[in-house]
Amino acid sequence: MKRCNNTRIPRALHFLKGIAIASALFAMQQPASAASADVATAWKNAQKLIPGISKETVDAACSEGSAMMYSLILRGEQEGIIGHFEKLFPCIKLKVFNASGGVLSQRFTNEMRAGNSPTDIWMNSSPVYGSRLAKEGLLLNWTPPTASLIDDLWKDEGYWYAIGLAHIGIIWNTEDIKPEQKKWLEGVKTWADVPNGPFQNNTGLVDIRAGGTTQIFYYYNKQKYGVDYWKKLATLKPTIFSGVNPLIGRLVAGDFAYAAGITADTAGATQWLKGAPLQWKFPEPGLAVPYFIGISAKAPHPNAAKLFMAWSLSTDGQNSWVNSSGLAPASSHATDNRPYAKKAWYKLPKTHYRADWQKIATDLKADTQTFTSIFGK
């Protein structure tokens, strides 16, 4: 006798399907075992590119077989860094988790404090935060053989090292500016000139709360020229954005023509590479924020992490980071092959402002209130 149900929904099938997919996904996560040819290639490349690295480290890294990087969202990371590294060191599979700054830090610290983090390498762009975590013992104390290649300004020796710099500059839509505006832009030399731009109702700025790269712009200028600087900016009646990328989108669309305090090499260049009509400039002194990496104190694959770190700081590594992510070099030894860097209008700043990151962080709350009162909410 046929049982009830004349509806033909195979509920069990749904379950089985889900379980099948789950198993497949699980299976895909198993690390591959290292082949000896790969180990040989890895050592060959390590010797060539990373002077000073020991064979033990490289062998240990290969037997560990993989590494997990918690990384900020960077343009060409997948091919330029991950792919390149895995080709050089085929015994290591590099996995990456991308998220924006706050999510990344919170995830890392929450996991570490709970004793349960899969991170090997951690990236960040807030020096004060990086050093605080180092002091708390969340970062491994290790000096890579290639550490000296990175300038002093951009590292906390033994803990974190910059793999690139995000320079702050001014940026404009080339299709939207008039000749006198163009002339003025060509004449901009220092940050003192920036608020004087002939761009009434035609300017974009990023909210001070949107991260270290915006904070340094506001902080430096207030510290040097006083709050009047901000007030002068406000007279341009700028549109305030919650992040640099929405701003760039509107700039390209022609909503306004001029923006200041922008990490042009990352956000602006991404659109430039697609053909957007943009140009940018870095007034003196250079304001820059380092993008740095450190090794987790409880890294499951410490040697793979060390290898990656050491490589990242080497000339080859630096070149890869710079050319794929678009960040400016943190090392004077790197070769800048970025397409826009070759343009005549592109100039990196000559001097660098030495920021007191701690003070920027402590002043932030008061600065935010000042910002809100001047620029409105």
């Binding site: 006798m1 009830c4 004349n6 509806t7």
Partner: protein, 355 residues
């Protein structure tokens, strides 16, 4: 074993919050008996039935089915309906619309893990017993009310429980069908030797179907007896009124066999049973005789109204201050004429008030 009742209810009470729906009901039902729980809506009969089935939990009392106690409030026994092995036919039939007739009927058999072939045979057999062979693959929504009712009955019968409950089984059918089904149902139950309890508010249904009627009102069991005995010897005003038409006469007792009516006349009655100064007599027991009759309990009266009903004629008679209804096969008494109404003593019953 012979004298153990098939179903036994001891002092069942059921309250919903502050309201008492069933108050202290005791019933003992023998094997093979058909019992009707009869009463007006809200008297608690359906609640009582559901308590027997296990779908409601009584507040107090004990229920036994066969030798087994299935509910006892003092001993904290409460067997769930799944395990009580009784059948229940719902008023709305509760046929599963997504299953065919055959699947509906076979459901209980599958639960008992009866083999498919055997189950199929049983289903076909019961369907032909209830007169529905050939409809096994139809869906309930395509059947008529009467057919649906038979499917519901078949579903309960096929699992061969000893006790089967019916909740107003015929009330959703139209009059003609109802009358047919009454007889069929009774024959079926007797043939299969089942014990049946059914709930109804229709007294004629109860009279046809039941071996014994349990009359309920306001949660209490008023009177139990065969249809004849409850009809002929009701104990209360309510019982008399519910099971047929009645004339009530306020009176005062002279002694156990005699009463005095308001006009002063003395009448003989059957025998005093109760304290209440109330007697009653059925319209069809009152005789109309020519004026001046000498029969015992004759009263002088006059016909004030008459209604011709076909087999009987209903007369309204005013007699010595009493307003009586009389049912007579003779349609020819004329309105306004003077007659004598005779209230034979053996039919003049002493009653208790209310319930």
């Amino acid at each position: 074993m012979v004298n153990v009742p098939q179903v036994r209810l001891d002092n069942i009470t059921k309250s919903f919050g502050a309201t008492q729906i069933v108050r202290g009901v005791d019933i003992a039902i023998d094997r093979g008996e058909i019992i009707a729980l009869l009463g007006p809506s809200g008297c608690g009969k359906t609640t009582l039935l559901r308590c027997i089935a296990g779908l409601e939990q009584p507040t107090g009392g004990e229920i036994s089915i066969g030798p087994k106690k299935v509910f006892s409030s003092s001993e904290f026994i409460n067997e769930p309906p799944e395990q009580r092995k009784i059948g229940l036919v719902f008023q709305s039939y509760a046929l599963w619309p997504h299953m065919t007739v055959a699947q509906n009927v076979a459901y209980g058999l599958h639960l008992k893990k009866i083999r498919k072939s055997e189950a199929e045979a049983k289903v076909q057999k019961i369907l032909s017993t209830v007169g529905l062979s050939g409809l096994s693959d139809r869906f309930p929504s395509t059947l008529s009310g009467g057919q649906q009712q038979r499917v519901a009955v078949a579903r309960s019968l096929v699992v061969e429980n000893d006790v089967i409950l019916f909740d107003e089984p015929l009330s959703n059918l139209d009059l003609k069908l109802r009358e047919e089904m009454r007889f069929e149902l009774r024959q079926l139950i007797n043939r299969l030797g089942l014990t049946a309890i059914f709930v109804t508010h229709d007294q004629s249904e109860a009279m046809v179907l039941a071996d014994r009627i349990c009359l309920m009102h306001g949660g209490k069991l008023l009177q139990t007896g065969t249809p004849r005995s409850v009809y002929d010897e009701p104990e209360t005003r309510f019982a008399m009124n519910f099971l047929g038409a009645a004339n009530f006469i306020d009176c005062s007792f002279v002694d156990d066999r005699t009463i005095r009516i308001p006009s002063g006349t003395i009448l003989q009655i059957r025998g005093r049973k109760n304290q209440a100064p109330l007697v009653g007599i059925r319209p069809e027991k009152i005789r109309i005789e020519p004026e001046g009759s000498e029969s015992p309990n004759a009263l002088k009266g006059r016909i004030t109204d008459s209604v011709f009903l076909g087999g009987t004629t209903l007369y309204r008679v005013e007699a010595e201050g009493l307003d009586l209804q009389v049912a007579s096969p003779d349609p020819d008494h004329v309105k306004g004429s003077g007659i004598a109404v005779v209230l034979p003593p053996q039919f003049l019953l002493s009653l208790q008030e209310g319930a």
